[in-house]
Structure formats: C-alpha cells, structure tokens
C-alpha cells in the first residue's frame, strides 16, 4: 500500500429493514450489509461469525430469499426488502428451533430461523436429505443435524396450521422443485455390490 492517504469514500443510504426505513449517513462504500445492520443499526441478529461467507451465521432474507449479509455490500441492499431474524415472519421458525433444542449455544439460532423459513417457502414438506442440503451453509459446532431436521418438521407443522402461503415463483429452480423432490440414480439393483 502506498504512503498516500487511505481513500475513504462514504455515501448516505436508506435501508428498508424489517419494514422500517432507516436512513444511515456516511456509510463506507465497502461496508457489508452485515456491518451496517450490526454496527450502525444495532441489530445483533444476524451474527458476525466469519465475515467471509463460510459460516452462514449472518443470514438475512433479501426480497424474501436467504442471503449471507456479510457478502452483500450495503449499497447493494438499497431499495431491497431486508428482513432480519427479528422480523415476525421468522417467529414460527424461531420457536421451532428453540423447541427442538437445535442451537445449544444460540449463536446460529437466528440464521437457522431464516434458513428454515426459506426452505419451507420452497418446499413445505422437505425430507431429511432436503433439510440437510438446505442447511448445509450453516456451520454449527455444537448441534447435530437430527435436531435441525426436527426443528424443520416442527416449523412445517406450525406453518401449515397457521396457513402460511408458499412462494412458488422460485420453487422451480430450486433443488427441491416439483416431484420427485430429489435427484435419483437409475436402478442398479441387479448389479449392486455386496451388502454387509
């Protein structure tokens, strides 16, 4: 780096978070949505786990789709509908996470609520493998996936009771689109290897 002054371009922007408009003055253009949500708006959920898109703890919903807020520049979130885990839209999933004991230390609990809600919008009745795949972006070091599968089942049940609508518009390009909801190999049963 040169000895010249560090360039520090800033911009004022307005974010729409959980249905409220927040004007945020003097945001560094390199700041992520996560940094602005946490450090400028004092919203501690999403969490800052790795800041490089590995751990999934910073999930928010942007225009209804789960996104890693540490990888999304704040300036790119202007005029988008940003929902943090505190939004009532995730209440059902949060309650399910708590009930299933799916996040022992609580650090990933907000991200789990977003991921579960996002999954159920695409696929209201996911099987265990679909749940595992949908949650694979959240790296938790203190739970096991059986509890996450249980949490999704609880949330699915509660959402069905509450009559939450499914967003079909992006169900098609998802892994869990129309039937069958999983990729399948041809039947090899006549040449299968030795079973134990």
């Amino acid at each position: 780096m040169s000895e010249s002054a560090v360039e520090w371009p800033t911009v004022g922007l307005t974010l729409r978070v959980d249905g409220h408009e927040y004007p945020v003055p003097r945001v560094w253009i390199g700041d992520s949505l996560l940094a602005v949500l946490r450090e400028r708006l004092d919203l501690d959920e999403p969490r800052d786990g790795c800041a490089v898109g590995e751990c999934g703890a910073c999930l928010v919903a942007v225009d209804g789709i789960p996104a890693a807020s540490c990888l999304l520049p704040a300036v790119a979130a202007v005029e988008r509908d940003v929902r943090t885990p505190r939004d009532p839209a995730f209440d059902i999933a949060r309650a399910a996470v708590t009930e299933a004991g799916a996040s022992p230390c609580g650090f990933c609990a907000p991200a789990l609520a977003i991921a579960i809600t996002g999954l159920l919008r695409r696929n209201p009745d996911p099987g265990p493998a679909a749940v595992r795949e949908a949650m694979a972006g959240i790296v938790c070091r203190c739970s096991e996936s059986d509890r996450w599968i249980e949490a999704v089942a609880l949330a699915a049940e509660a959402e069905a009771e509450a009559g939450v609508a499914i967003q079909h518009e992006y169900a098609e390009d998802s892994d869990t689109g129309p039937q069958p909801d999983y990729p399948e190999y041809p039947d090899y049963s006549d040449q299968a290897g030795d079973a134990p």
Binding site: M1, E3, A5, V6, W8, W28, G30, D31, A35, R38, E39, D42, D44, R47, D48, G49, C50, A51, V52, E54, C55, A57, G101, P104, C105, G106, F107, C108, G127, A129, A130, V131, R132, E133, M135, A136, G137, I138, V139, C140, R141, C142, S143, E144, S145, D146, R147, W148, D175, Y182, P183, E184, Y185, Y188, Q191, A192, G193, D194, A195, P196
Partner: protein, 759 residues
Amino acid sequence: MTDPTFPADLRADGMLWMGATRSPHASAAIRGLDIRAARATPGVHAVLSAADLPGYNFHGPRSIDQPVLAADVARYIGEPVALVAAEHPALARAAAERVRVVWDPLRPLLDPEQASTAPPIHPDGNVLHTTTLVFGTEPGALLDPDTAGVAGLKVVEGEYAFDAVPSRPGAPAAVIAVPNGERGIEIYVATLSPRGDREVVAQCLGLPVEKVHVIPTRVGGADTHREDVGLQVQAALLALATGRPVKAVVPRDVPAHSGRPAARLRYKHVVAEDGSLVAVDADILLDGGAYASTTVDVLDEACRLAIGPYRAPNVRITGRVVRTNNPPAGRVRGGGGALTCAAYEAQMDAAGTAVGLGGLEVRLRNLLRPGDLVPDAGDPLGKPAAAPVPIPDCLHGVLDTPMPSFPPGPDIREYPGTVGRTGELTRIRRGVGVAIGMADLSNPAQQGEYATAVVLVSQTPAGPAATVACSAVETGSGLHDLIRATVERTLGIPPERVAVRAPEDPGSLPSSAAVTHPAWVHGSAVEAAAKQARAKLFRPLAEHLGVDGGLLKVADGHLVSHDDVFRQPLAEAYRRCLPPGRVVRGDGEFRMLTMPTLTGTSDAANVAVGAVRAVVDVDTELGLANVVQIAIAQDAGRVVVRDRAEQRVASGAVAGSGLVLSEGADLPYGWGEPSPMDSPEVVVAALLETAAEAKDEIGPDGLPVAAPPLGGMKPVGDLAVMATPAAVLAAIRDAVGDPRAGSPLRLPLRPDRAWWVLG
C-alpha cells in the same frame, strides 16, 4: 450489563476497533518497526508495539512464555506484532497493513520430529515436557519379534499421525475493553476464568489488580475453551492509550486461540495366541507449537490414556511435547484420550487380525475391570481402576441399536459425497466398526477451582421466581440449563422463572476459576446457594414445626421434612412464606481442591468409559466416506438435564467424525467440521447413571469439598469425541480392508489420503 451476551455484540459510545499487524513468517527476527504511515492513516488513534506495554510482556496458562506482542522475534505465522485502534474495522485493518516491519526471516522449525536436534526457538529449548509411565516387565524384553515368535506371541506394530486442527469457534473470539476513570479498566469477554485473567492482565498492563475488572459475558458461542488472555491485554492496552472503548475481534483466518496439537503415535502391542494382551509399548509425540499453552496437560493425559480400557500386565508409555514454529496448540476437545483412542483401537483390531479372533473378541478378552491396573502419573506402578467400569453395558447399548438400511437412497444426497461429487451404488461398500473409549478423572495437574453464586427468590404475579448471579459461561454445553434445573430441583421454581445473571458487582465478585469442570463447580455453588435460600425462605414454617430450615426439602411439588412427617403443597408453602416484596437471598460457594489433594489419598483411579458403533459407507473410487450412523452409550455419572446431556454427546459424535474425516490445518478459513450434509444420524443408546448424589462434605476450611468419586462428575461428550474417530476408522477398515503396512496412517482421512484408493 446483566443479561448473557455474545462479546462481539457489545458496543460502547465512541468505540474504536482493534487491528493487528501479524507475522507473515513462521520464524523471523524483528529488526525494525516503522509505525508512521499507520499512525498517519485517517481515523487511527493509536499504533502500539511491545515497547508500549507498561508491564510484563509474557503470559501463559502453565509456562509464562507467550508474548502479548512479539518484541524481537516472531515464532509462528499470524503472531501479533503491532496493534492499531481506529474508528472503523476496515481502517484498523488498512492501518495495520501499513505498519512496516523489517523482517529477518529465519529457518522455521516445522517438523516436530526434528525439534530435539534443531536449534532452540526458546531459551529453555524445544522439548517442553517428557513423560514416562512403566509397569510390569519392561516391554522391550517382550518386543523382539524373534523371541516373541518362539514364545507364541505376536507383535503388532502401528504408526498413526494426526494433523493439527486450529481452533475456530463458531462465534469469533472477541473482547471489549472500556476505560472507566478511577475505577480502571473493564474488560468484557466470554472467559471461563475471570479471576485468573484479571491477574494476568493487571501484570501485563503494570496496573494494580484492583484497577482491572474482567467481566464474563457468559455466553461463548460453541467453544469450550477460551483461554488466550493475550487478546484481553491487547484490547485493554489500546483502550488505556486512547481513553476510549476498544473492541477486538480475531479475524477468521488467524487462530483464535490454541488449537489441537499435531500428534504422532507409535505402538507395539504384544498379544498371545488366545488373544490376551501381554505388553504394550507406546511412544507419543505432540507438536506443541510455538508456545507452551496447555499441551503439557494434554500430553500427560494422552499418556495415561494411551492403552485404553484394557488390561495389560506390562506397559511402557513414553511421551514428548516439543516446541515448533507452528501455531500454538493446547487443549483438545475430548481431552488427551481423543489423541490416542483411534490409535489404540486400531491396534486392538490389528491384534484381532493377527491372532485370527477379530477385533471385538480381542477387546472382550482384555476388557478393563474394577481393580485392574491403569497407568497413573501419581503412581509409577499404576493404580487399580475404581468401580464402576460398565463397558459391557455400553457395548450392549450400541450393539442393540437397530442398523440403518442398506443401500442408501434412492435420494442421491444419502450417498457418500452427497451432492456434486456423488458416489455410485455399484462401488459403495458399507462397514461397521465398534470402539471403546476411556477418560480418567484424576488428572494430577488439576488446579484448584472455586466458584461463588447468589440466588435471590421473590414473588411475581406468575409465582415465585429466582435470579441466579454467577459467572458461569454458557459455551453451548447447557450450563445455564443445568443451573436452572438445579434451582428447580432445590427450590421447585420452574426453569422459565429462573434468570441467570452476572454478579451484581462484577468488578469485585467474579471469582470463578472453573475451567475444566464448569458444570460441576458452578452447579455445586448454585446448589449450595439455593439450599441456603430454601432454608431461609421456609424458616417460618420450620420454626412452626420446631425443626431447622435446612431439613425441609422439595419433592414432587411438595415441601417435605427430612422424616417425611410434614408434607405441604409447594404453592401453599410459598404463599405462606414468601409475601410479595420479600426477597430471600442465598449465598453459595464451592471449592474443588487440587487433584493431588483430592485423589492423593485414594488408592483407585476413577475412569469413565463409553462405546461407539459407527456405520460408514465408503466409495471405493472417489475415496469418499459417509458416516451414516453413530450409536453411542457411555457412563455419564449423574445426569441433571438429560436432553442437554444427549445433545452434548451427539455433538461430540459429529465433531469426532469430522476429526477423523475432514478437519485439518490446511483449510485457510475452513471449517472441516461436518456440515449437515456430512454429519451422521446420532443415536444416544444409553447414558448410564452410575453415581449417587454428591455428598455434602465440609472441609477443614469450612467450605464444602468434593468427595470422591468426584460428585458424580463424568465428562459427557468427551467420550463421543474420543471414540467416534476410532469407530469410524474401524468401520472403514471393515468396508475396504486394512491400509498397506509400513506407512503411517495419517488422519484426517480425506479422499486424497484414502488408502483404498491409493493402494
């Protein structure tokens, strides 16, 4: 601040961010430092180096050898050299990059095998510690393959190498230091040991200890051990220099604190034709990294647990931990046994093959029973194992667990490799492996531990409620749940009306040093406080009955006297004794003496055992392994919150399968921890409760002490971390055969190291 908070979520007005200049070299002398460009960066308020530290530059949990900031030499990649405080984290990073360090790179010592002959990287040499445990006939006499063959004995040799695993907790390591005028400096951090940290920070800052206040935030975020006090000193130093609060967060690509050491184990097992173990010779080498941290404890524990829960009449175990220019290592999830279990269990399988009986049969013929000798540092001849050693019950538990169906699928996400690089049915083999793990509870290096707690009981519209003030840190292990359950059991107040808060005066009170047994030490302090509160609370009733308040207990929703003559519904007792506005306070403390004091008089070694069965699908072409199911049964001592205990065990099993298959040091940001796609179904087949309730015993100093067998404390979760890798490895061998002899078995067993593909 009273509610538990993640330290990274704390903020203060005018807060600055810490950035650190770190060594790009594994070993290099520092010839000069120019901070002018960094200091001139806008928004930067301070740039400091080791020369600015007013106190002592070194800290460390055992040997005081780790500098807060490297002064004249850097000994590992990522070691901090200079600190920056700036108004934005990106500015702090940019300024830290502008600190110009004149490096003089030296040849790094990276191979622990060469440490004892290489030039010393510390003044006191590279060999940090050696351990030798011997009993019976010197195994060397039995190990000569020629003589052994004549006597009808088989010698089974094996070498095993584990990679180091850096510590990357789910929540980043974070500290916020706040200068507070006359009061001194306040440090908010998810430490497990506020009292010890306070002394170290004061010494490094050159402040009287009263001027330093270490306040535990009491939720950690998925890591049991957070012991790098250096980060606290760094943040505090910047806060004092700038007069403003400073937040320090360790970025993901540098080790947050000491990780799992690399280990190399060489074994020779001598086994008779009938499968009985004649002798075991084990040699263990740990790479302690650049600084001592706690690797000496890890080595000692690994040596004591080097042969596992088996009877062996002749044993020689030698261990060394050396310094290198790798990042500092320290505590290991699962304890020292997590470094040895996969190796000794692989040896037992190999012994089974050598005598033609199979691994399980050879294990059964040598199972440790109460009274059999186990290696013990306190006694060169070994110590007899104390009852119970319920290995058969554990084995029944896991073997009775129903097997998952084969083949996997039809969903291809159930195949090895899941999505993207998926195995195919024609080349998938399934294997089943069983392993037994053992943890010992008599660590002779155990330091004394101490905890205090306050329980306040008052009436609310919803009913009686309790507030617990203690410094117990929730790291995801369920400690706060355990505290609530303890209050419920003692006072009959449901968990949802029990709040766990920080001590009222955090500056003076947090005096817990409960690092290794937090559930036991904090739980006991809370129990003592709750009992005192109960005695005070129901004193009016007790006086009416003419008994001491301490003799009234809570059982089945009733308040009952010790002799069961008096019995009253709890709601009524509370209504009579706890009018609105009355607040009853109970104080409790618990002190665990140092382990030699605790077990020195005991003739027996307390152990905990567990068994794991792993079911693994292996792809024979891609080298992929998918752990389908882990079944585990263990001796859990005393279970207070069953759900959390099961969770802890299951999480240990997931961590264990990651340790054997994916976690390693070469993943830059990487987790290696199994994602939900890779993590197995975990069946907790049994948690055996083998311990009676802890006794209330009063020591000579008037404080309650723990009486063996350690109040029912057994390490829940450690056995899963320890035995799961061994069981997964056994299952892989079952599926695809043994690796070729001669080369060490290197773990984690990632696809590029899979012997069945390479062979």
